[in-house]
């Protein structure tokens, strides 16, 4: 008999600056699938005026040796300029945006709005029976908010995945 073994894993946040060329996202996402790495979230947008360079933020988890390999494998891709493991070089800030739709009337509706106030979630759409809240923050803050909304008529959640940046004066 044989069983598949598991190893202890860590969560890491990587930012990757790349040439904004056709297929680059497929290349990076595909590298993760091809080599069996995990993607928890991925965000990408171009960050220069001429749209030549994009910044990708990837949240991944895996054993430390695998995280190091991910870093090295990403750096090996020709269109990749720079890879920063924010979890390694930290401290860093991370922010994610979520839209959360909640329906309900009476007590539940009031309670939803009250909790939204505590979390500084902003109603961006309101009907007599529903809200869409916009919430920005670290992922665990969004997790807690969503968890609280579950009993209060949660219908739908959309999350962007995080963008992150090293603290302090310097570029990472």
């Amino acid at each position: 008999m044989m069983h598949i073994k598991q190893e202890a894993e860590e969560r890491h946040v990587l930012t990757i600056t790349v040439d904004n060329e056709a297929g680059i996202l497929a290349k990076i996402a595909g590298l993760f699938t091809a080599r069996g790495y995990n993607i928890d979230s991925l965000t990408v947008a171009d960050i220069t005026e001429n749209h030549a360079v994009s910044r990708i933020t990837i949240v991944t988890h895996g054993p430390p040796s695998q995280i190091d390999q991910i870093h090295a494998q990403l750096e090996r891709l020709v269109p990749v300029h720079k890879v920063v493991d924010l979890t390694e070089v930290g401290p860093y800030v991370q922010r994610e945006l979520a839209l959360i739709k909640v329906t309900g009337v009476g007590e539940k509706r009031v309670e939803a709005l009250r909790i939204a106030g505590v979390f500084r979630a902003r109603p961006v759409d309101t009907t007599t029976g529903s809200f869409i809240f916009e919430l920005t923050g670290a992922p665990d803050k969004i997790d807690s908010f969503v968890a609280l909304m579950r009993d209060l008529g949660l219908v739908e959640v959309g999350r962007t995945g995080i963008v992150a940046m090293i603290r302090g004066q310097h570029e990472a």
Binding site: M1, M2, D19, A22, G23, A26, K27, G30, L31, A34, S65, D68, Q69, A72, Q73, E75, R76, L77, V78, P79, H81
Partner: protein, 580 residues
């Protein structure tokens, strides 16, 4: 002077400018404009293969044997997908290739057009980089960068997909060098501290081993020369991976032979007992390390590699040095000066003891030619000609690695990483084109040779005097061996049934065919092959059920080698079976 040229024309001019002499290809609808541009152009020699996999492997053989990049030209869809195996092979073994594929016209991409395949998508993870060209004005710069990427850093295949309309449309062209993008600049030298630490570690070692790989060959002849110099200065014994054979001369007293699954006892034991392993251009592949937790338990490790991703991938090392083998060896030797290392007498005495096991021993048979003997005789009778040897994949490949001996780089062409049956014949064809005066021999198996047998026609067409030496055991021998050792001899689908008459097959293609049936014909048959001025297939009938030893079974440690004469259980637990 700037003038308007078609994309196809710019491509041809750019290839010529890169110094390309030979293109391995096969035409089709989506590359007709390029073939038309090639028509009558004497500057590029087009070699028409018989299958696109053959083109890619031939380009690999050309590249590996000459040190120059190999160039492939194939059509869209099936042309590109047929070439993928060879591209993946080159990716695994770090062979510099530039592959040009035709694509359906830009406007039809994504419409499931006739002979459309997502070539860029399919090749993404088996190329070092790939491009889809959108405008002929980008071509010159892309081709220039493609050659730079293919040949520098860790070499590898780069694919350029060119839609048919881009081949026909025109763009300004001039003779000036293409404007190169400055984005690919791999690190090639170690830092002063790293070099100082390496020298210190080597100087302190009482039981060092130099573990070398294909990176030494890829780095060029200078790396080979410097490796020999480092060995001379330090006295350390040298072993090599399958891919690195030839970097160190096999007749040197400190040569341990190949290491790994079918490596020698002395090489594997030296790795196991070393106090310092200097890994130069190798990558701790699973075929080399065996069971990881038992691999070289007491050694410190230095790893010199141009690819940062090869470092700490499977085996953690104490001192990584990212750089080109030749440059880093040069740095180490410069700092070493005329230092003296430790006295290695005791270490070498132990190595000598392990050599005493004579792990490459095999029993002769009076009934059949032992395959190992056939390789030995082939080596003895051809060694003065300094031949180029390619192989297919299987037992014959391992026997060639064990019993043929190499004294210089670029003489040994084999599919190591991917283990591609069908590699050897086209690779030999490519090597013969790059080395017209050399004796080029594909040491083949009866099953593998059938995988690209159509390339016999290519050799005939271009009058290439390639030799194919088949160790015909009527089995997929390597599969049969694993079934014998791990599945209690349940020989599921590994018998080579309905083999063709290889002599007649040779003759059908205009080759010479020779059959060797017993030991008394062996030397004469080989000699006849050597003396014949043209391509030859030798069908050498060998003992059918010989096993390839020594062997470290999968999942075992270097100390658990099986040698000839050891009794082998014939079963294996699931943990071991699950390993590759």
């Amino acid at each position: 002077m700037t003038e308007e040229r078609s994309g196809a024309n710019i491509l041809v001019e750019s290839l010529v400018k890169q110094g390309v002499e030979v293109v391995f290809g096969y035409p089709g609808g989506a590359v007709l404009p390029i073939y038309d541009a090639l028509f009558g152009d004497e500057r590029l020699r087009h070699i028409l293969v018989r299958h696109e996999a053959g083109a890619a492997h031939a380009a690999e053989g050309y590249a590996r044997s000459t040190g120059k990049p190999g160039v492939v030209l194939v059509t869209s869809g099936p042309g590109a997908t047929n070439a993928i195996t060879g591209i993946a092979d080159a990716f695994m073994d770090s062979i510099p290739l530039v592959i040009i594929t035709g694509q359906v016209p830009t406007g039809l991409i994504g419409s499931d057009a006739f002979q459309e395949a997502d070539t860029v998508g399919i090749s993404r993870h088996c190329t070092k980089h790939n491009y889809l060209v959108k405008d002929p004005s980008e071509l010159a710069a892309i081709i220039d960068e493609a050659f730079q990427i293919a040949t520098s850093g860790r070499p590898g295949p780069v694919l350029i997909d060119i839609p048919k309309d881009v081949q026909i449309a025109s763009a300004p062209w001039n003779d000036a060098p293409a404007q190169r993008r400055q984005r690919y600049a791999p690190r090639t030298e170690g830092s002063a501290e790293e070099i100082a630490q390496a020298v210190e570690m080597i100087a302190q070692a009482k039981a060092p081993v130099l573990y070398t790989g294909g990176g030494v060959i890829n780095s060029g002849p200078r790396a080979t020369a410097l490796l020999r110099e480092l060995q001379e200065k330090t006295g350390a014994p040298v072993t090599s991976t399958l891919m690195g054979l030839g970097a160190f001369p096999a007749d040197h007293p400190d040569w341990l032979g190949m290491l790994g699954m079918h490596g020698t006892y002395e090489a594997n034991l030296a790795m196991n007992q070393a106090d310092l392993i200097v890994c130069i251009g190798a990558r701790f592949d699973d075929r080399v390390t065996g069971r990881l937790d038992a691999f070289a338990p007491n050694s410190e490790k230095i790893h010199i590699d141009i690819d940062r991703a090869s470092i700490n991938k499977t085996v953690p090392v104490d001192l990584p040095i990212i750089g080109d083998c030749a440059k880093v060896l040069d740095q180490i030797l410069t700092l070493w000066g005329d230092r003296k290392g430790q006295d290695l007498t005791a270490w070498k005495a132990r190595v000598q003891e392990w050599r005493g096991k004579d792990s490459l021993y095999f029993p002769l048979s009076d009934k059949a030619i032992m395959p190992q003997l056939a390789v030995q005789r082939l080596f003895e009778l051809t060694k003065d000609k300094n031949p180029v040897i390619s192989t297919e994949v299987g037992q014959h490949q391992m026997w060639a690695a064990q019993y043929f001996h190499f004294f210089g780089p670029n003489k040994w062409l084999t599919s190591g990483g991917l283990g591609t049956m069908g590699y050897g014949l086209p690779a030999a064809i490519g090597a013969q084109l790059g080395n017209p005066d050399s004796l080029v021999i594909d040491i083949a198996g009866d099953a593998s040779i059938q995988m690209n047998i159509q390339e016999l026609g290519t050799a005939t067409q271009y009058r290439l005097p390639v030799k194919v030496f088949i160790l015909n055991n009527e089995w997929m021998g390597m599969v049969r061996q694993w079934q014998e050792l791990t599945y209690e001899s349940r020989y599921s689908q590994s018998y080579s049934d309905s083999l063709p008459d290889f002599v007649k097959l040779a003759e059908a293609y205009g080759w010479k065919g020779i059959r060797i049936e017993n030991e008394s014909q062996l030397d004469a048959g080989i000699q006849e092959m050597i003396d014949y001025d043209g391509p030859v297939i030798v069908d050498c009938l060998v003992a059918k059920e010989s096993n390839c030893f020594p062997m470290i079974p999968s999942g075992a440690a270097h100390t658990e080698m099986i040698l000839y004469g050891d009794t082998v259980a014939g079963t294996m637990d699931d943990e071991a079976k699950a390993l590759v």
